[in-house]
């Protein structure tokens, strides 16, 4: 929403994540203020350790593939 069109004072529009997300205490709020995606933390908490490791492996494989493609493109002179 454009601020000029907003009926509420600008100060009230400032996003305060601790007011938007569930809190589990000061450490949780601190993580929120640091920019940590606590929704992902909550999602992870529902997973098993094996699922978390599987997710890490999949992430690393994806990153590796992207690096490979970027490197190949650079070698071919079509990359950045």
């Amino acid at each position: 929403m454009l601020r000029t069109m907003s009926p509420v004072p600008i100060e009230d529009e400032v996003f305060d994540p601790s007011k938007e997300m569930p809190s589990f205490g000061p450490e949780w709020d601190h993580a929120l203020r640091m920019g940590i995606d606590t929704a992902m933390l909550l999602e992870n908490a529902r997973r098993t350790p094996a699922e978390r490791i599987q997710s890490l492996v999949a992430h690393n494989r994806f990153v590796w593939r992207v690096h490979q493609q970027t490197h190949a493109a650079e070698l071919a002179g079509i990359g950045p």
């Binding site: 450490e27 993580a31 940590i36 490791i53 997710s55 492996v57 690393n60 494989r61």
Partner: protein
């Protein structure tokens, strides 16, 4: 093609488990196991730096072209287990990813000082993983920006666990 291979943490864990090495998973993978979201590109473990353990590690990595990560120009690791046992830590690059082996975990100490918990990191395979409280202490001690982020994640997860006991 880039020279560094994909990090296959699951394969490394399986190979180490097969070798019967007694070790504790520490570092970023331990943080992930506890629920942190920050990805990591290596596997850190702690174990006693004995010749027998070094033999087990090198047997586990045989066929994966292990090299010293800081001196890949030296080629495949040729050190004897006795020689490797003299290292304070081993930083090993293999065809299935990076493995860092530490004899001491600062600021806690050797493997006998570590409070590890058992976690099923691979299907039907349990591993000893550094406990959440000690892992937080390690991350706080290291103190690099990325460690501070993981430390904050772990503190939040500890708080969440205390709020929702199993």
């Amino acid at each position: 093609m880039t020279r560094r291979p994909a990090q296959q943490t699951d394969v490394l864990l399986e190979k180490l488990d097969n070798s019967r090495l007694e070790f504790v998973v520490i570092g970023g993978v331990a943080a992930i196991a506890h629920g942190a979201t920050t990805p990591t590109q290596d596997l850190d473990i702690a174990c006693s730096m004995t010749p027998d353990n070094m033999r087990k590690i090198m047997t586990a990595l045989s066929g994966q072209h292990p090299v010293h990560a800081t001196r890949p120009d030296l080629g495949e690791i040729q050190n004897t287990p006795e020689s490797l046992a003299q290292f304070r830590m081993l930083l090993i690059q293999t065809d299935v990813g990076r493995l860092d082996v530490l004899g001491t975990v600062e600021p806690i100490g050797g493997i006998e000082s570590l409070a590890a918990v058992s976690m099923e990191l691979l299907p039907s395979r349990s591993f000893r993983v550094l406990g959440l409280e000690q892992l937080i202490a390690v991350k706080a001690h290291v103190g690099r920006p990325k460690d501070k982020l993981v430390e904050a994640e772990l503190r939040a997860l500890l708080r969440l666990r205390l709020s929702n006991p199993p």
